[in-house]
């Protein structure tokens, strides 16, 4: 679902990559008074620096618990983020890009669902957005709806009726500029977030991958100063 009902006092599993979108979700859930369980998947991604950003953000928001779970998707390959394939730098192209990681959000939401059921949470939150996005199929509302339907058939809590799982996607209909504006309203220190797929050796954003381009465009269109260090 796109808009969140009140999450005050509820346990919520927030998928936290360390990027701008997931950090905005963290801020939203935390400011709404949710008991945030932050889940970061270490999938052996090329841009491992985002794991440190996730940890810094989880600490900043004093979440109930932060788990960084190793799940090595590099075993499978098939993406510029998990195999020895160059990250494209020529600008955002039409179609689904090579940085798409096969079934990544499906895997991440499934793991989040497992944690949610174990701690008695019925609410998951993920920072997907279908506008101004990178063309990933698992960022679309029809995917999210299908996942929710599946989750309620997959679980003890869903089948017994003690939980009705909801996947909250508060950024779904926002442009990147809209996300930057929302993050600013929520008081997020966006300088703590990490977007770049191909960091420089000295820890700067490359400024040329799709993710950097979308980030820059978002700040520019929002009219908000970009705190990011670009190469």
């Amino acid at each position: 679902m796109q808009t969140s009902e009140s999450l005050a006092g509820k346990p919520v599993v927030v998928l936290l990559s360390g990027g701008l979108d997931s950090a905005t979700c963290l801020a939203l859930a935390s400011n709404a008074g949710a008991r945030v369980h932050a889940l970061t998947i270490d999938y052996n991604q090329r841009h491992r620096i985002e794991l440190q950003a996730a940890k810094t953000l989880a600490d900043r928001y004093a979440v109930q618990r932060h788990i960084i779970l190793p799940l090595d998707l590099r075993s499978f390959g098939g993406s510029a983020l998990t195999a020895d394939i160059d990250v494209p730098k020529q600008g955002v192209q039409p179609g689904i890009p090579i940085t798409y990681v096969p079934a990544r959000n499906t895997i991440f939401l499934s793991v989040a669902l497992g944690w949610a059921e174990a701690v008695g949470a019925a609410d998951l939150m993920i920072g997907v957005n279908a506008l101004d996005y990178s063309g990933y199929p698992d960022c679309r509302p029809e995917f999210v709806a299908a996942f929710e339907a599946m989750a309620n058939l997959a679980t003890k809590a869903g089948v017994e009726g003690s939980a009705r799982y909801a996947v909250h996607t508060p950024l779904l209909a926002l442009s990147k500029a809209g996300i930057v504006q929302l993050a600013a309203r929520e008081g997020l220190d966006m300088g703590l977030t990490w977007s770049c797929y191909d960091p420089t050796p000295d820890g700067l954003h490359c400024g040329r991958c799709d993710s950097c381009r979308l980030r820059q465009k978002g700040f520019a269109e929002a009219g908000i100063a970009d705190p990011t260090g670009y190469a």
Copy 2:
């Protein structure tokens, strides 16, 4: 889907726990001429001895590739298989048992989907069965159908139409006795498989957990000698 179309020559990702059911799937896929990609998840389960059974079986069937992927569900707890909760020994009870691992099959199928997409496979196989089973929600046909629907919305291959994902569940409508008979027909050496949730220190099946009881019942009702070493 319950029955398999011809899988000859096709890449198929088979979830292989090392148990009797998944080993029967492995035998079926291999005997059908599929190019088997066997996926075993090391979820830090109590009965880690099944990982060795999976390796032995994958070797025996000379699969294209066998991945044992660490994914530590013990981080979450919530099950007798992944937390310090005693495995029940009093016999199979009505309802969903404490050995249910939150969202386990959802997580396993999602990871299998990621590998499938990376290698260009459209077929997954999992040894769930909804008769004579342990009462797990993620072993039911409605769950499997919901997962298939989700998978085709989640993936690049599904969205672009280059693959139509199918989850093959050849054991879905079989009793445990029926699975034992099928395994025997397929020539599976069932002595290589592992079922017990609570192995003895010297590597025997305990004979009293639900999984052992179902195994014993299956062999007895099938009228086939049980090669298992019980405590």
